[in-house]
């Protein structure tokens, strides 16, 4: 009897662990999609773009509206990305274009204002009651003896595809290379004759689109409510701080790290989900005040 009980217990813990890891990967996916935009905006334009959380929120809400109307989540997500990107474009042209030269606190406060105002608009349009979004793939898949929700896997797949896409963009296209060069030395890029303003706009809109995508695909897993951006804000920023603002590699690693810590942490002791990333962040900042791979502010 004893060995079977032992192996049963072992089997169950392994299953729990595995589903925890998958859960952590799906969290990491969402964190990554938002953080990569934040990191790029900082690296290239030296701004803190808290309004990315607004495009995340808008992406989720548009996804809700369209998917409820059409019955198809993916169409909704596409719509969410489109609207999020357009909104980001408008904000970049109207607001950020004028404040690129200012210090960091300026963009922080301004983008925070945009986030708040945007939340107000969302409230006005959709009300305060949280909205559910139906998951398109209800089934579970059996991996390694554990039942994993298929939708969560598709979230991870989407994020992985996006990462590959971003890698290709930054390493194989000329605009991507210009962005990488600009992160290192923007003055020099302009000196070559490359249109800095257009480069900034492209990067900003890309960030907005990615944030909106995050909101859209996350929507079925959570309730869509006006404050969802504020709720995830602290976590996204812990990811960004740990990885270091301006580093894409850093963002990837810290998304994975924080995702796992939050997920596995909550299996052990619920509040650990919040405490552990924070403790980690403090430890890392103690040793490296700009995060694991962060770029310093001076160019």
């Amino acid at each position: 009897m004893a060995p079977r009980v032992g192996s049963e217990r072992y089997g169950m813990t392994a299953q729990l662990l595995f589903s925890g890891v998958v859960f952590g990967l799906s969290l990491a996916s969402i964190y990554f999609l938002i953080s990569i935009g934040l990191s790029l905006c900082f690296g290239l334009m030296r701004i803190i773009s808290l309004d990315q959380l607004l495009y995340y929120t808008v992406g989720a809400y548009i996804t809700y509206s369209i998917s409820t109307l059409t019955g198809n989540l993916w169409v909704g997500v596409l719509g969410g990305i489109a609207v999020g990107a357009l909104l980001a474009l408008a904000v970049e042209r109207l607001v950020f274009k004028r404040i690129y030269e200012r210090e960091l606190t300026f963009s922080m406060i301004t983008s925070f204002g945009i986030l708040l105002g945007g939340i107000g608009v969302v409230k006005a349009l959709w009300g305060v009651v949280p909205r559910p979004v139906r998951m398109p793939l209800d089934e579970q898949m059996n991996l390694f003896g554990t039942d994993i929700p298929l939708y969560r896997l598709s979230v991870i797949v989407v994020a992985a595809l996006v990462y590959a896409g971003i890698w290709l963009f930054l390493n194989r296209t000329i605009i991507g290379k210009a962005i990488r060069a600009g992160i290192e030395d923007m003055e020099h890029v302009e000196g070559l004759g490359i249109n800095a303003a257009r480069l900034f706009t492209i990067t900003f809109v890309l960030a907005g689109a990615l944030s909106a995508l995050a909101g859209g695909i996350y929507a079925p897993l959570i309730m869509v409510d006006p404050h969802m951006g504020l709720e995830i804000l602290a976590f996204v920023f812990m990811v960004v701080i740990i990885g270091g603002l301006g580093s894409i590699k850093g963002t990837l690693y810290s998304s994975l790290l924080v995702g796992q810590v939050v997920s596995l942490g909550s299996l052990i002791y619920a509040p650990l989900a919040v405490m552990a990333p924070f403790a980690m962040m403090l430890l890392i900042l103690l040793v490296k005040p700009t995060g694991l791979f962060g770029t310093p502010l001076s160019k």
Partner: protein
């Protein structure tokens, strides 16, 4: 300097005006304004003088509030001791946290404080729920003694107490502004390398400013606790994060009177907006963006400029404009 009436003039005028306002405006509103102003002046000082914004002021507010609450709920009944405990708790907390946070760059600083605020929220709501009673909060209004001089359980006397306390706090910040320390804070914002060259330690200056600012914030928390007789984790909720930042910008960064003007406007706006529109984020958000984009000096700064140009016109344009 402190002896001259001239130095005290602004403080005396303001706080007399605030005291008189109680005959016109509702008492709860005025009490809220006073305590909120004290909450905000720390944030304003940090941003205006040292150049750092924090998105996590609720954390320090809660530390002061809960320290006082613990005392009054579990141990004693004297509100003055409660205030003192809150003050000390805030001081110690700010010092420990400051040692790590102050080294950081301004954006990391702001966000790390935000994370701190979230942590404190979780601690109060879940982790320490045994002693904090989680979301239910701690109720201790009946525990508070009626004390001599000011009976803090009565809103009208609490109000008077706050007037004096407020004047003292403002005197402190005005004094700081006038000392070398105040100048150093400003210098550390503008050019820290130069400051180092003339022999000042940026870190120590920033840490001191940080501790002073957040101890004031914690003290405001203690005042809230005594006034309401109740604390709950909600005060560190994410919708509260915006409050001190908005008030600071609204009132005008770096000005001594900005917090008061900003608080009056913000609290009034929030009450009105909630009643009629129910959507304060919309208004607040756009006001914030508007003020930043127009490089405005905030409500107080604008009022100051208006009154200056009005005075010039009235007094017959003496001297060049």
């Amino acid at each position: 300097m402190l002896n001259s009436l001239h130095w005290w003039r602004g403080i005396l005028i303001t706080f007399t005006a605030l005291w008189l306002a109680k005959f016109v405006l509702p008492l709860p509103f005025m009490n809220e304004v006073l305590v909120f102003s004290i909450y905000t002046i720390g944030c304003n000082f940090l941003l205006g003088r040292v150049g750092f914004i924090s998105f996590g002021q609720p954390a320090y507010l809660a530390v002061g509030a809960y320290a006082t609450a613990f005392y009054l709920f579990y141990f004693g009944t004297n509100p003055y001791i409660g205030l003192l405990i809150g003050l000390v708790a805030g001081l110690v907390f700010a010092f420990i946290v400051g040692l790590l946070f102050v080294r950081l760059r301004s954006d990391y600083f702001a966000l790390v404080n935000l994370a701190l605020s979230v942590i404190v929220f979780y601690m109060l709501q879940k982790v320490l729920a045994d002693i904090t009673k989680g979301d239910n909060g701690l109720w201790f209004l009946t525990n508070i003694d009626a004390t001599p001089v000011f009976n803090l359980t009565k809103p009208s006397e609490f109000f008077l107490f706050c007037i004096f306390v407020g004047a003292a706090v403002w005197a402190l910040y005005k004094y700081l502004d006038d000392t070398v320390f105040g100048a150093c804070c400003l210098a550390t914002k503008i050019n820290e390398t130069k400051l180092e060259f003339i022999g000042y330690d940026n870190f120590k200056i920033r840490l001191t400013a940080f501790v002073i600012a957040n101890t004031t914030t914690a003290f405001a928390g203690s005042l809230y606790a005594i006034y309401l007789g109740f604390v709950s984790p909600e005060m560190t909720g994410h919708s509260r994060t915006a409050d001190p930042v908005v008030v600071t910008i609204l009132g005008g960064v770096g000005s001594l009177w900005g917090p008061i003007v900003g608080t009056l406007a913000y609290t009034g706006l929030r009450d009105v907006a909630s009643k009629f529109i129910g959507n304060w984020e919309l208004i607040v958000g756009f006001i914030l963006v508007f003020i930043m984009m127009t490089n405005s000096v905030g409500l107080y700064g604008t009022l100051e400029n208006w009154s200056k140009s009005l005075w010039r016109r009235v007094s017959g344009q003496k001297g060049t404009a």
